[in-house]
């Protein structure tokens, strides 16, 4: 084993320690600042009128009575806001996929329950809601599209007129000799699986507070965004008006601005040369075939952006969870900003829970047919998967649900040796809420594959564990890359977690427990699931999904030491529960050799932090966010050390820094501090404030590594009289490399598993066949409580590579593994195959044959 923990720490050695969270000093005493807490003087409150119908045309809208209500400042119809905003354009396109363009409001047609029809701005949310009831709208209902099957009907009412029916995309890819493998394998086993709709449900809903500077018109937007920079640029582009285009002439005539733009463009092009070269335009061609207006809008927005001299500032403060749902930029973000800009007054919109359930982010309504080609001895040969993904009505922005099948394409075969793989499928539109990334957005590939492996094992009469053991990729015989493209190194250590998990299962005890359960009318079962995830993945990960997109991997860092010696580290991450402030302090403090409190972490404010398209998401915070922090800190320390060496009349290589004391090795009594060094430089530079050392850096991770892996094992105990399921034990054996803070990592894993438990036993976002939302409150969408979530045992493996910053992401894995392990356990307990992910008590008893369906 190469596992050692002590190679990556320096200075005081915070790395790997269970350091208590610095965030808690404000959050646990009620001093956090969440978006709803931002209440600038005189702020107005917004409420949206939302469609009660899933699919309808709007014939007329009358806001007269609402506008007259005392306390109402303005009622905006959809048309009024659409007239002053630009549409949401697809930014991520693929061959065979059409992404509908849409505006921030619906003025002619509504496409889901909760669709945005009008916006009231009033002195209080109470009055705003009163006004909503006074708006009169005449709708004509259209036939709704409520299910995947309805979406696939050729002559069904269309959501999007330029699409082919309600199918927005067809995707197809294959790897290896599929036909040959399938014709020669001993068995081909085919099954169909389905997963119902889920929703992310962070405890804090979405929200935005738009402050308008009365003098300059500048917008300062406090928002629950996982990606504040993306929001800033999107808002800048979407709020650009005709005046912006007229101003374009000014831009052309202004040599300074023109040159600055040219320099920035050149820098971008040179940094991303390879990536840009690899991009094909097949996606753009597919899109333009359906809708040529893309070019017109792109041109208008680009000119507007160039001409604009004032972009909004976006600030993300404390955020109450997201799980992917606060990454996308939403129509409400644009509508509220446009309204505030138009009124010239600050406006707060806080989504309520019912709104959040209607359109705060939904996920994973997907159907699959999978075929596995396998030999009689259990050798897996090939896999074919057909899918249909229900994206709801409006495509996510800037990344639509298209990302999900592109990731399935890479992940679906899992950590198993396989000769051939094929994926075909469709993205369909239905009259439901928006699909967003939800913690491991691609996770159903693991559920599908791992569930199917158990089916195959039973068909072949071998155990699920033996089937996995036979096929899992192992150190020593590991290929250089997955069949689907991404390269691999020893961080893809699934086999290690699998072997360790098997060691930790007492199979003899399991048989005894099963017998004991049966004796009292219960059934006990065990389920295993293994997976790997790119966290952040190797350099070719994104380009394997979509040629030319590997520029998404890199993360920018910036750090400075102020004239008074303060160390300030800037991150473009937007934390929302992941404890970035604590872990980044650990990483930086180790590099600088200072106590935690000597490092300040700055995040969330686009005026202060460097650009990032993605912000926090995709398990980037540990490997890339902390990685670039480590590297920039190391470079700054080197600069400080050089100056300190001069001051101490020693060689730089002899300088040691311990607990903030910069000294010649062995002579700590004659040490100096960062403040002393900074003061020296400040004096030399004849300055007294501002940064005296600065560093900016781009970081792309550590090469072929970057895989987080795990094996989950679930034990379930089912009461056949009630269908209620208990989870007497749950084990996660995981390897995310060297752990920065085990308290944080354990929390991420347990939280993810809890959402997996929810997905299987409690949570289903119910729409009826007419696309009416049934789970509109927390009485009906069941987030599990402390009584439902079991204790979760975690076993860490910490495979190190020779990389410098080997920490790998771990935020998503819990949710990826849990549905598979749990449904496998239910299947084992009941002795029947399970082809659906959601198993409420009645369904358990139906599967058990206790009650009729």
């Amino acid at each position: 084993m190469t596992d050692t923990k002590d190679t990556q720490t320096s200075g005081l050695g915070f790395m790997g320690q269970r350091v208590q969270r610095v965030e808690d000093d404000r959050l646990l005493v009620g001093k956090g600042e969440f978006v709803a807490d931002v209440l600038p003087e005189g702020v107005l409150h917004a409420a949206f009128l939302r469609s009660p119908f899933p699919h309808a045309t709007i014939n007329s809208i009358n806001v007269t009575a609402a506008a007259r209500l005392p306390g109402v400042h303005k009622v905006f119809t959809g048309a009024e806001l659409n007239a002053i905003t630009n549409p949401f354009l697809p930014m991520f396109m693929a061959d065979g996929v059409y992404t509908p363009l849409y505006k921030c409001m619906s003025d002619e047609k509504v496409r889901h329950v909760g669709d945005l029809v009008a916006l009231v701005v009033a002195e209080s949310r109470y009055v705003a809601e009163d006004a909503l009831e006074l708006i009169e709208i005449d709708y004509t209902e259209l036939t709704p599209v409520g299910t995947i099957d309805q979406a696939l009907e050729p002559n069904r009412e269309q959501l999007w007129e330029k699409a082919d029916g309600n199918v927005l995309g067809n995707l197809s890819d294959s790897f290896g000799p599929v036909d040959q493998v399938f014709s020669r394998a001993d068995h081909v086993i085919t099954r169909t699986f389905e997963c119902p709709r889920q929703t992310n449900q962070p405890m804090e809903t979405r929200g935005t507070v738009v402050k308008v500077d009365k003098a300059t018109g500048h917008l300062e937007i406090h928002n629950t965004s996982q990606a504040p920079h993306a929001l800033k640029w999107a808002l800048a582009a979407m709020l650009t008006d005709e005046g912006g285009i007229k101003n374009f002439g000014k831009f052309v005539r202004n040599a300074d601005r023109r040159q600055a733009f040219t320099a920035a463009a050149k820098d971008f092009l040179s940094k991303n040369k390879e990536s840009l070269k690899a991009q094909d335009n097949a996606g753009q061609v597919s899109q333009l075939k359906k809708d040529k207006s893309l070019l017109k809008h792109q041109g208008k927005m680009a000119m507007g952006l160039l001409a604009s001299t004032d972009y909004p500032t976006v600030k993300a403060g404390d955020i109450g969870g997201a799980f992917g749902s606060k990454g996308p930029i939403t129509r409400e973000d644009v509508a509220v900003a446009a309204a505030a800009k138009k009124l010239g007054k600050s406006v707060q919109w806080i989504e309520d829970r019912v709104e959040n359930l209607m359109d705060g982010g939904q996920a994973r309504e997907e159907q699959f047919t999978i075929s596995m080609a396998v030999d009689s001895d259990g050798t897996l040969r090939g896999m074919k998967v057909d899918f249909v993904l229900d994206q709801g009505a409006y495509p996510g922005f800037p990344i639509s649900s298209l990302i999900i099948p592109l990731l399935w394409k890479l992940y679906m075969p899992g950590p198993y040796n396989i000769e051939a793989f094929e994926l075909n499928g469709q993205i369909v539109a239905t009259n439901k809420g928006r699909v967003v990334p939800y913690r491991g957005p691609w996770a159903n590939e693991t559920w599908l594959r791992e569930r199917m492996l158990d089916v195959v094992a039973r068909e072949l009469n071998i155990t699920p564990a033996d089937l996995r053991a036979k096929n899992v990729m192992r150190e020593g015989s590991m290929p250089d890359a997955f069949i689907t493209g991404p390269t691999i190194d020893e961080t893809m250590s699934v086999a290690k977690t699998f072997d360790r998990a098997l060691e930790m299962i007492d199979f003899d005890q399991l048989e005894e427990d099963k017998a004991a359960a049966e004796a009292k009318g219960h059934r006990l079962g065990l389920g295993i699931a293994s997976y790997h995830e790119a966290a952040p993945g190797p350099p070719n990960f994104f380009s394997s999904a979509q040629p030319g997109s590997d520029m998404l991997l890199s993360e920018d860092g910036r750090a400075e030491i102020q004239a008074d010696g303060r160390i300030v580290m800037y991150t473009s991450q937007s934390p929302h529960g992941q404890s970035h402030e604590t872990t980044y302090k650990q990483v930086a403090a180790d590099e600088f050799g200072v106590p935690l409190e000597d490092v300040e972490i700055v995040w969330g404010d686009t005026d202060r932090t460097q650009f990032s398209f993605l912000g926090t998401g995709g398990s980037r915070g540990g490997p890339l966010g902390a990685g670039v922090m480590r590297m920039t800190a190391r470079e700054l320390r080197r600069q400080v050390t050089d100056v300190a060496a001069d001051m101490l009349e020693a060689a730089s290589s002899d300088i040691e820094i311990i607990d903030g004391n910069i000294h010649v090795a062995g002579v700590p009594a004659k040490g100096i501090t960062y403040a002393d060094v900074a003061a020296k430089v400040a004096t030399d530079k004849r300055t007294t404030s501002g940064p005296v050392f600065t560093e900016q850096m781009q970081y792309d991770g550590v090469g072929n590594g970057g895989w987080s892996v795990a094996t989950h094992v679930a034990w379930v105990d089912i009461d056949l009289e009630t269908g209620l399921v208990e989870i007497p034990r749950y084990l996660v054996v995981e390897d995310c490399g060297p752990i920065i803070n085990p308290g944080v990592v354990d929390g991420q894993i347990r939280g993810g598993v809890a959402q997996g438990v929810g997905a299987v036993f409690y949570e289903r976002h119910h729409y009826d066949e007419q696309a009416n939302l049934l789970s509109t409150t927390y009485m009906d969408y069941l987030v599990p409580t402390a009584m439902e979530i079991p204790h979760i045992d975690i076993e860490h493996m910490e495979t190190l590579t020779d990389g410098e910053n080997d920490a790998r992401g771990t935020g998503e894995g819990g949710m990826i593994g849990a549905p598979a392990a749990l449904t496998n356990a239910v299947s084992d307990a009941l002795g029947v195959e399970v082809y659906e992910q959601y198993l409420p008590p009645y369904r358990i008893l139906e599967l058990a044959g206790v009650i009729d369906r």
């Binding site: 009584m787 409420p840 369906r853």
Partner: protein
């Protein structure tokens, strides 16, 4: 999700409350603990023009012992839960209270408010049916009493007229040879039950002399299953007798589907709960409260 506007009244006496109800009854709602009414209003599913808040009426805050227990309209669940009198004289009420919502809800919600709200999935209406409680209904016309069996009329609807106040509920005393139990199956801990049972069984001398089986969550109101109750009379309190009653329950109830449970599932767990509830109730016979 904010409350709609309403005319707010907080009477200090029952008489004042009744005057307000007489005046505004058709357009008024009585607010006690608010744990059911306020969410309905915040969701704007209910918009009473007048809200008559009875929380300041001291005369409604008492629990009194009188051949059983009388609970006033402002007695909160938590107060009843802590009450030794309720435990001793109305054991089925005491058994039901821990199942009502969560602690913070019980701290504000009232026993009588839950009864007046008449949610068919709630525990208290079933307890009223099983114990044959008596409702005291006050109005400016005077007070009248209504038996529990006549009080619950349908889905969220009762015998209360708009100008009336359910001021007290009397739960008759249980005798010493009676055992009680409240059992339920809910999706999550603290949720409304998919099916629940409030039951009592009198098995003095080793033979069942009376039994009450009141189910909740399986119909538009809580319901008793008389045939199943009758099947138990004269038999010893054994698993066989309970199973036979459970079969009758299963054959009798006609629940419906919703997103949490199918009708078939509800019938199945109603039978399960019959067996479990009766066994648990029997085990409490003679155990001092």
């Amino acid at each position: 999700m904010k409350n709609p506007p309403f005319n707010y009244h907080r009477p200090a006496t029952v008489a004042e409350a009744l005057d307000l109800l007489a005046k505004h009854g058709d357009d008024a709602k009585v607010l006690a603990g608010g744990q059911s009414l306020l969410p309905v209003m915040a969701l704007r599913l209910g918009q009473p023009e007048h809200l008559i808040d009875i929380s300041a009426i001291d005369e409604l805050k008492a629990i009194s012992v009188n051949d059983g227990v009388t609970i006033g309209a402002m007695v909160r669940h938590a107060e009843a839960e802590k009450s030794a009198e309720v435990k001793q004289h109305a054991p089925l009420v005491a058994a039901a209270l821990p199942h009502v919502g969560h602690r913070a809800i019980r701290n504000r919600g009232t026993v009588v408010g839950s009864i007046a709200h008449a949610d068919a999935a709630a525990e208290m209406p079933a307890v009223c049916l099983a114990t044959e409680a008596t409702m005291t209904i006050a109005s400016t016309d005077g007070a009248r009493t209504v038996a529990a069996a006549d009080f619950f009329e349908g889905f969220f609807s009762t015998a209360l007229a708009p100008h009336e106040l359910l001021s007290h509920v009397h739960f008759p005393a249980a005798n010493a040879t009676t055992g009680t139990a409240v059992v339920e199956v809910s999706r999550r801990h603290g949720d409304y039950a998919m099916c629940g049972l409030a039951c009592s069984i009198d098995a003095g001398g080793g033979t069942i002399s009376s039994a009450a089986l009141a189910f909740f969550g399986v119909a538009g109101t809580a319901v008793r299953v008389a045939d199943a109750e009758a099947s138990l009379i004269g038999k010893p309190p054994t698993a066989d007798a309970f199973a036979a009653a459970a079969d009758i329950v299963k054959a009798t109830l006609d629940p419906s589907d919703d997103i949490h449970a199918t009708a078939a599932y509800r019938k199945h767990i109603a039978a399960t709960l019959t067996r479990r509830g009766l066994a648990e109730a029997t085990s409490t016979i003679g155990v001092p409260a």
